[in-house]
Each structure stands twice: as C-alpha cells, then as structure tokens.
C-alpha cells in the first residue's frame, strides 16, 4: 500500500511555477529521501502534502485517502517538522509540546508522560528558558519532538538533521529506523546527502521547478544505464555541477 501518492500535482504562485506536474508514490514503511537543489520546490511540496498550501491542481492521497487542508482526521495520523520549525517563541518547551499533544487528542496522562520522556531523551531539560532563548539545535529537537509526540503513521521531516549535534542525529536516526520497522513512513528532505544515503531506502530527486527527474532504490543508483557510486555523484549529474571562478575570493 502507498502511504503517500501524488498525482500530477502543480503549485503556482501567480505566474511562477513552484511544482510542475509532480507524480510520486511512497510505499508504507519506507524511509524516503526527497532531494533537490535550493528553491526546487521541496518545501512547497511538503506544504501541499501537509495542508499548509493548496495545490493549484492535482491529487494528493495519504494513507489511501484523499488529502486537503480540511482533512482533519488524516492530519491526526501525520506528523510534520516544518522547515521553519513552527515554534511558538514565548512558550517553554514542555508547554509547547503539551499544547501540540493535546491538540492531537492525547489524554492528559499520556501527554505528560510523553512530554517528559521526549524532553529527557532529547536533553531538553533546561526549564528556565523559553523557546526563543534556545539554540538552533535545541529548537530543532523541540520541533522533532512535536512531530512525533502523537506517534503518527506518516512523518514529514524538512531538513531534520542540520544544526543537531552527532549524538542527537544518532538518536533521531535510531528512532526513525524503529518507526519504519513498524510499517510507518518517513518522508525526509535534506541537503546532507551522506546522511540520506545512510538512512533512506528510497530517494526522489527533483529539479527546479518541482520536476521529478529520478526516483529509485538507494542501492541501485543508475540513470540512463550509467551507474553512480554515491548519491552525491548522481545528484550532481542530475541537477548540474556549477563552477564559478571568482578571482577576488
């Protein structure tokens, strides 16, 4: 069964095309890497898949059901760590996580237990600081905790590993592997190709404007019969390597 299915999705901002006729499917239980250069439409695609943005045309299905901004029942089954993190700055970490948990319908006992466990595991135990006072890495950990607190079936993570220290990344990867082992799906965008190569089982690469140029298994990095020894070399082959000799730099 496909956990995510996009059919001819188009997203336009006025005359500007951000996502062009994107069709994609992700099997349940997959750790899926969604890659592309800056401005290629990755975050816009995630925005459409999570209800933040309305696609101009096309169909989105999550967990076998049609999805749009009003699909509140489906939203309960997905977790999202947005690119901008989406944290409420004046709150303390536990207040923010408890708010998210309650909004996802967790009862009070579960809310308190999960918030405490997540804060401990992610080493977010400094209760004297509001989220605005946290470092970027700590803020990222909080956003990750908010995405998983309700134990979703599909998890969207936009650039999850940047700014987090190696121990934190290792812990997150461990959780994500267990997550997919249980048949749940993770959809990750990242520019750290080495991490994606190690973590993901399947990858899609898009180029500007949101155009799918490659999708396949991470163990079979081929394009038009040409084999690639790393995800980076395939990525650069598809998106184009750039050279600029600035003699003043």
């Amino acid at each position: 069964m496909d956990a995510i299915r996009l059919t001819n999705v188009v997203k336009k901002y006025g005359p500007v095309i951000a996502v062009e006729n994107l069709s994609l499917s992700v099997r349940a239980g997959t750790m899926f890497g969604f890659l592309g250069p800056n401005g290629s439409g990755k975050s816009t695609t995630i925005g459409c898949m999570t209800g933040l943005l309305d696609p101009t045309s096309g169909q989105i299905e999550l967990l076998g059901e049609h999805f749009d901004a009003n699909s509140t029942a489906l939203k309960r089954r997905i977790g999202v760590m947005p690119e901008t993190l989406g944290l409420f700055e004046p709150l303390y970490a536990h207040e923010f996580l408890a708010f998210v948990a309650r909004m996802f319908g967790l009862d009070e006992t579960t809310t308190r237990r999960r918030v405490t466990e997540l804060l401990d595991a992610l080493e977010l135990t400094d209760t004297s600081k509001t989220l605005s006072e946290y470092s970027t890495g700590m803020r990222k950990r909080v956003a990750f905790a908010a995405a998983v607190i309700h134990s979703p079936e599909v998890l969207f993570l936009d650039e999850p590993f940047e700014s987090i220290d190696p121990a934190g990344v290792s812990l997150m990867k461990q959780w994500l592997r267990r997550f997919t082992d249980q048949g749940r799906t993770v959809f990750i965008t990242s520019h750290v190709l080495e991490t994606v190569e190690r973590v993901c089982t399947e990858v899609a690469i898009i180029t500007q404007p949101g155009k799918l140029v490659w999708q396949g298994d991470i163990t079979a990095l081929q394009h038009n019969g040409q084999k690639f020894d790393s995800l980076e070399s395939l990525f650069l082959h598809l998106t184009g390597e750039r050279y600029a000799d600035l003699n003043w730099l």
């Binding site: 947005p82 989406g86 004046p90 319908g105």
Partner: protein, 487 residues
C-alpha cells in the same frame, strides 16, 4: 496634512498676538504639544524607532556611535514628529509675522524643541522598558502611572486654596523646553537667547540620559530552572471552552499574557481610563462622569489586548505554519485567538464596575445607581465584542508582521491603527454627541435603551466568527507570506 497643520499653527500664532497674550498662548500650546508627543509616542507607539534594533545593526560594519546615530535618525524622521513640527513651525511663523520675535530664531527654537521632544519620548519609553524588566518594576510603574493620572486632580484643590502657588509654579516652568521655545519665539534679545539655551541644555541632558539608559542593559530577572508545572491557570481558563478548542485558548492566553507590550498596556489602560473619564466629565453636564464613563468603559475592555487582537497572527512569525498542521478546522484557529482576547477584555469589566461602585458619586435617586451599572456594563460588553469582531477582519485583510518582543514602536497596520485610534476616539465622542443630540439615550432614566446593544454586538461578533472561518482558509497563504515577511 502637514500644510493644514502649519496653517492651523500659523492662525493660532496670529490669534495669540492679536489677543495680546502671545507668550502665554505660545507657552500653553507648545507645552500641550510636547506632552501629547511624549504620551502618544509611549501609549500608541508612534514616533519611536522600532525598525532596527541594536542587534540588527551590529551585522553591519558600524561602530556603537554610528549604530546609535543611524537608529535615532530613522526614529526622528518618523512622520509622526513632523506633524508636531508643522504645528509648532506654523505657530512660530504666525507669531513672527505680527510680533517682535524673529522668524529665523523661532524656526531654530522649533527645531530644537522637536529634537528635545523626540529625546524625551525615547527616554520615557526606555525607562518604562527597563523598569518593566526589573523585578518589582511593574508595581513601581503602576504607582508612577497612578500618580501621573491622579496627581492633577489631587493638586487642583491645593491650588484653589493657595492661589499663590500657581505663579510660582509657572515661574519654575520657565526652565522647561516648551517655555524656553516660547521665549525664543516671542521675545528678542537676551530673553530669546536664554530660551534657546534652556532647550539646548535639555537636549544635552536628555541625550546623556538616553545614552546612559541605552548603555545599561536591561536587568534580566533571574530565571531559575524549575520543575515542570502542569497545572496552569491559562490551561484551566482555556478548559472552559471544551476539550477541542480549550488547549488552543490556553495557548493564546499565554501568548497575550507573556507579551511585554500587552502587560504595559494592561497597567496603563486602567489609570488612563480613570484619568480620561474624570477629565472629560466636566463638559458633559451634571451626569458628566457617567456619560464620560459610557465612552471609556469600552476603551478599558479592548485597549490592552488591542495590539494583538487586530493582528492576531502578525506576531507568531514562522509558527503560523504550525496552526495548519494541527488537526482542527481553520475556523477554530481564528475563534480560539479571538476568544482569548475577549476573555481577557471581559476580565476588566468587573474591575471597572467595582471601581465605579467604589469611587463614583452616588446619585440622589437610589434607583439610578443600578441603572447606571447596567448601562455601563452594556457599553463595555458592546465595545468589547464590536472591537474584537472588527479586529478579526483587520487580522484577515490588513495584517502586518510585527515583533512580539518589541516593547515600543507602533507596528500596527493602517487598518489596525484606524481601528484602535478610531475606536478610542469613537468611544470618546459618541456619548458626548449623544448627550448633545439625544440626551435621553445617555440618561439612566431611559436605561433600557442600551439593553439591545450587547445582543446586537454579540450577533455581529458571532456572525463575524462564522463568516471569517472560510475566508481565513482561503487567505492563509497570503497571511503566511505577510507574517513570514515574504510579502
């Protein structure tokens, strides 16, 4: 607007000369304008530089002096100050046409007063900001505001008993910037030079004070690491709205209550409410205090939450995205934010009604007092609901990205300013106009007239919530672009 104000000032200058009271009128006009400038800048946030913080300017290769200069040059060029400058310039020009003063000396005096006014407003704003961030600072601020609000009323009987105090006090006022400017505008010779020197001395003193306050980092209240508390008053209050929307309302209550500007406005609005009520009562006949209160009760209920209520999502930044990831309909997001504002505003109503019960003089007819209370409550509820309903429309159609942590500066959109400033003016003027046009409408004798008003306001508020939900869904991408600074 500038031309109109200049012409108005010019006419006032000519009238002052013709009346033979040039110095007194100039002193009074300049003093009122000076105080209005300081108060409007601090209460409404106009004319205070909130565009670049020192931290933002540190990104550029500027030393401390240049950062400070850049910041204040941007601040003083705010059009708000030019409105005052235009009036004062017109006045100086008007006085110089028929009087003994020189046009050029008057112009210099007005420009110096303009600089002095900007510095004074900034010193007060920074002082309030530093004070509110200190432990116990809020209490000190309340005492200061009460002293300022009630001081003139308490001093009036003393002046009546001892009339000799007034000339002595006016003599002391010669050392203030408006009186110095008045001397430079009206007189020639040493008196004018002395007036200019007074303003220059004030500018130097205020600039030094401002520099000292800016150099003095706000004292952070010690934040101890404490255990997590799950039992919060915000969540308990939010719980009144049910399990689906309750956590959201609790979240918004926190958002309001932790905002420095909202807290400052909460402290200012009640003494201000009392001050305005007493000051406007005199012109409204024997029941003046009551008629004035009919206008000021709505102000008390909406003013302190107004900044966020008219721009609900302007201060959440990137967190705006989070709302749409939650499994709730868009209408719930909008409703929860508005309920929090209404709830906080409604909390003020019993306080002001209690204050009225304690402090207001009782009418001779005993039946009148409960009628007055009913009318005041109806007025407060009507203002609260109408304002919050209009705030939702401004939130949707004229939002603006603001800085949640900014303690001063006016970061409301044009629509927000029109609603807040216009709302205050309407609440002021409407009872006075009714008193003149239809006195029965503001008389406790016909108290029943106001009874339908809260019902109509509630219908308008609920209708707004219902209609605004779908609009919020369709406009969310535009709102997102605004609150994230991309539009």
């Amino acid at each position: 607007m500038i031309a109109l104000l200049t012409a108005g000032g010019f006419a006032a200058g000519i009238v002052a000369i013709r009346a033979g009271q040039a110095e007194k009128i100039t002193q009074a006009v300049l003093s009122v304008l000076f105080l209005q400038g300081v108060l409007a800048a601090n209460i409404l946030g106009f004319g205070l530089n909130a565009i670049f913080s020192d931290t933002e300017l540190r990104r550029y290769p500027l030393d401390a002096l240049h950062r400070r200069l850049a910041s204040h040059v941007i601040g003083i060029l705010d059009p708000f100050w030019f409105l005052f400058l235009a009036l004062e310039f017109g006045l100086a020009a008007g006085v110089s046409v028929l009087g003994a003063g020189s046009f050029w000396r008057g112009t210099i005096a007005v420009i110096l007063l303009f600089v002095c006014n900007y510095l004074a407003a900034n010193v007060v704003a920074l002082f309030v900001d530093r004070l509110i961030k200190r432990k116990g600072g809020a209490a000190i601020l309340i005492v200061l505001i009460l002293a300022l609000a009630l001081g003139p009323s308490l001093a009036a009987p003393i002046f009546k008993k001892n009339p000799t105090i007034v000339p002595a006090l006016i003599e002391r006022l010669q050392y203030t910037p408006p009186f110095g400017a008045a001397a430079a505008i009206v007189h020639s010779g040493m008196a004018a030079v002395y007036g200019l020197a007074t303003i220059v001395a004030w500018i130097l003193a205020l600039a030094a004070l401002l520099a000292a306050l800016e150099n003095r980092a706000p004292q952070r209240q010690a934040a101890a690491s404490v255990g997590i508390s799950w039992d919060s008053a915000y969540d308990r209050a939010g719980g009144l709205f049910g399990p689906r929307i309750g956590p959201f309302v609790g979240h918004w209550l926190r958002f309001y209550a932790r905002n420095n500007r909202t807290r400052i406005m909460a402290m200012i609005s009640l003494p201000l409410f009392g001050f305005i009520t007493v000051r406007t009562a005199g012109r409204l006949g024997p029941n003046g205090l009551f008629i004035a209160a009919l206008g000021t009760f709505p102000i008390a209920t909406f003013l302190w939450t107004s900044r966020i209520a008219v721009n609900q999502f302007g201060y959440v930044g990137g967190a705006f995205r989070r709302y749409f990831l939650l499994p709730v309909e868009s209408g719930v997001i909008l409703r929860a934010a508005s309920y929090a504002s209404v709830l906080l505003g409604a909390l003020v109503l019993p306080i002001v009604l209690l204050a009225w019960t304690i402090f207001a003089p009782r009418p001779s007819d005993r039946q009148m007092f409960p009628r007055m209370l009913v009318m005041l409550a109806c007025s407060g509820i009507t203002g609260l609901l109408v304002f919050n309903a209009l705030g939702i429309w401004i939130t949707l159609f004229n939002p603006r990205r603001g800085k949640y942590n900014a303690s001063f500066g006016n970061d409301l959109s044009l629509g927000g300013n029109i609603l807040v400033v216009g709302g205050v003016l309407a609440a002021f003027l409407l009872p006075a106009l009714l008193y003149k046009a239809w006195p029965a409408a503001v008389s406790p004798d016909s108290w029943w007239i106001v009874l339908p008003l809260p019902l109509l306001a509630a219908a308008f508020y609920l209708g707004t919530l219902k209609a605004a939900g779908p609009i919020f869904t369709t406009r969310r991408e535009k709102l997102l672009a605004v609150v994230e600074g991309k539009a």
